[in-house]
């Protein structure tokens, strides 16, 4: 293991200029690069946010949640049902997504968070699958027909707004949500004693309890919060793509992507899901657009996962920090296994 000074810290003031530059680029992105790149931006921002939502429960708390994608679908259908079945504007659907995901995730948290490791992973996966099957046979979700959401200017707040509900609008909506998720993660998990308690619980639950930490309460709080974030993105996504179907918004691949993005980027870090989210999403989308292949990125991702698990369990962020240990593969795998209580 080597201690390297991050590149940006070697140049005085570079970090500040880097942040200002990135901020400016994000602000002007859709206006400068047009609709195609705005759509790429929308997808990238959404996946970064989703990967961060998974990182809260998976990375910071150490619970291998394989049902997280269900909350993306719950958010999507909450917005869809509110708009299509009840004629409410999107904002009502957005609020409904938050409330419903909070209620459902709490009910799921009570029994499943008694489990750890692979048992928790299987239980949450089963929950997500049952949600998908339920949505396929339930009338209010449109069943196998899905739902088509309205997107006219009066569907945002109930009265017509003086701008178009199109790519630029959704880009800024996703940007706001993504930055909000990042800010929330930074404040709660990196700068707050709550975050220390979450990490303490992940590292040693008994020791955490012996130090006054109510671990049952803490893990439920993290789980519900992370699920609400996923649902928020699901609700905006539903409105953006206009048509939702259980096989799409409740598909297991949504969870798989979140896990892979957080793992590749760096579990339990603020910037890991950004790096992992960008890498996986761009590899997938750009290989699809420019190489005409929707599967080309899969072997690449598989190889990257193996490299990460074997040599760099701290992911891309760990590599950038110089935390690469090629010599001790067994320790690297053990470290990752211990993180999720799999050993």
């Amino acid at each position: 293991m080597t201690d390297a000074v991050p590149f940006l810290d070697r140049i005085p003031g570079a970090r500040r200029y880097w942040y200002v530059g990135i901020g400016a680029l994000l602000l002007v992105w859709p206006m400068v690069f047009g609709n195609f790149w705005a759509r790429i931006g929308i997808g990238a921002l959404m996946w970064i946010g989703l990967a961060q939502s998974w990182n809260m429960i998976g990375g910071y708390a150490g619970y291998l949640d394989f049902g997280h994608g269900a909350y993306f679908g719950i958010g999507a259908f909450a917005a869809g049902i509110a708009m299509v079945q009840f004629g409410y504007p999107f904002l009502v659907g957005f609020a409904l997504a938050i409330v419903v995901s909070a209620a459902v995730s709490y009910l799921v948290a009570v029994p499943t968070l008694r489990l750890t490791g692979a048992y928790f992973a299987i239980a949450t996966w089963a929950f997500a699958e049952s949600m998908k099957q339920a949505a396929l046979v339930t009338g209010i979700t449109g069943g196998t027909f899905g739902l088509s959401l309205p997107r006219s200017p009066d569907t945002l707040i109930g009265v017509a707004v003086p701008f178009e509900i199109a790519e630029t609008f959704f880009y800024y909506a996703m940007l706001a949500l993504c930055l909000g998720t990042m800010a929330l993660t930074y404040y709660l998990f990196e700068r707050n004693e709550f975050g220390y308690r979450v990490k303490a619980m992940r590292d040693d639950q008994d020791a955490a309890e012996s130090l006054g930490i109510d671990t049952t309460r803490v893990k439920r709080q993290v789980y519900v919060l992370s699920c609400m974030v996923a649902a928020v993105f699901g609700s905006v996504h539903a409105w953006y793509i206009v048509y939702i179907h259980p096989n799409d918004v409740l598909a297991p691949i949504i969870t798989d992507r979140m896990v892979i993005m957080a793992l590749l980027g760096g579990l339990g870090t603020l910037t890991g899901p950004v790096a992992g989210g960008l890498l996986v999403f761009l590899l997938e989308r750009l290989s699809s657009v420019f190489l005409g292949s929707t599967t080309f990125y899969l072997p690449l991702i598989g190889t990257l996962i193996m490299i990460t698990v074997l040599f760099a369990p701290s992911g891309i962020i760990g590599i950038l920090r110089g935390e690469v240990d090629r010599g001790d593969v067994r320790r690297n795998v053990k470290e990752l296994g211990e993180k999720f209580d799999l050993l």
Partner: protein, 248 residues
């Protein structure tokens, strides 16, 4: 009349057919350092785990500072004033030393700044302040023991239960740990200490409780228990020892 800070009455813990603690009745006086000794498997750590809420007792009761705390959750007992460490040192290794200290949750209403100040004072007292911003995983075993003690002190506990504080620690650091325990005891903190090293126990403990096969078989100062026939029986299996001390 004695001022007991901890009192267990007929405390029993079973694991299937095995009775790990069999009706243990034991009192710890406020301000003392109580040692607990006994052969491996005699039920010392089970006693710790049952008193601190990690195991649900199958019978009996635990009273702390006058309150019946039987069956309380570990975090609630910790906030009430019982701190403990574990046989295997358990730092939160992916966090810095300071973050380890700040993770501790109390109900004393102290502000964030007060808590940070307190963490700083404790780290200085334990002489680990120079590694405050290092990750705990990089600390030596002895430093990790000090960190574990430091985290417990963040609770501002009235009673501290230490499970083998000197195990795997070099003599210099062992001496430092013992000095810290004495200093804290002088300030009024009560200690219950499990320790296999009889030289440590002899110099540290005001009184000693001896466990054997889940039973509390003897209590007294170190010299008394080392002369006790039942203690010799427990350690030597009935063989008569030539010398006067417990030969371990």
């Amino acid at each position: 009349m004695t001022d007991d800070i901890l009192r267990t009455t007929d405390l029993t813990k079973r694991f299937g057919a095995l009775t790990a603690n069999d009706e243990i009745t034991l009192s710890v006086e406020r301000g003392e350092i109580r040692g607990i000794i006994g052969p491996n498997g005699s039920g010392k750590t089970t006693f710790f785990n049952t008193v601190t809420g990690f195991y649900e007792p199958d019978g009996g009761s635990v009273h702390f500072d006058g309150d019946d705390v039987t069956g309380w959750k570990p975090h609630r007992l910790a906030r009430r004033g019982i701190g403990r460490t574990f046989q295997i040192v358990s730092p939160f290794k992916n966090m810095t030393v300071r973050q380890n200290m700040l993770a501790v949750q109390t109900e004393d209403g102290s502000s964030r700044e007060e808590k940070r100040d307190r963490a700083g004072e404790i780290m200085e007292f334990l002489e680990i302040d120079h590694v405050a911003d290092n990750e705990a995983r990089g600390m030596s075993g002895g430093q990790q023991k000090l960190l574990e003690l430091g985290r417990v002190l963040m609770l501002d506990p009235e009673l501290v239960m230490l499970d083998e504080p000197a195990a795997g620690v070099n003599p210099a650091l062992e001496s430092r740990i013992m000095d810290h325990i004495h200093d804290l005891n002088d300030d009024g903190t009560t200690f219950v200490v499990i320790e296999h090293d009889m030289h440590v126990m002899k110099t540290l403990a005001d009184s000693v409780s001896v466990f054997d096969s889940g039973n509390h078989i003897a209590q007294g100062d170190f010299e008394e228990v080392s002369q006790d026939e039942s203690v010799r029986e427990a350690y030597l299996g009935g063989t008569t020892a030539e010398d006067d001390e417990v030969p371990i």
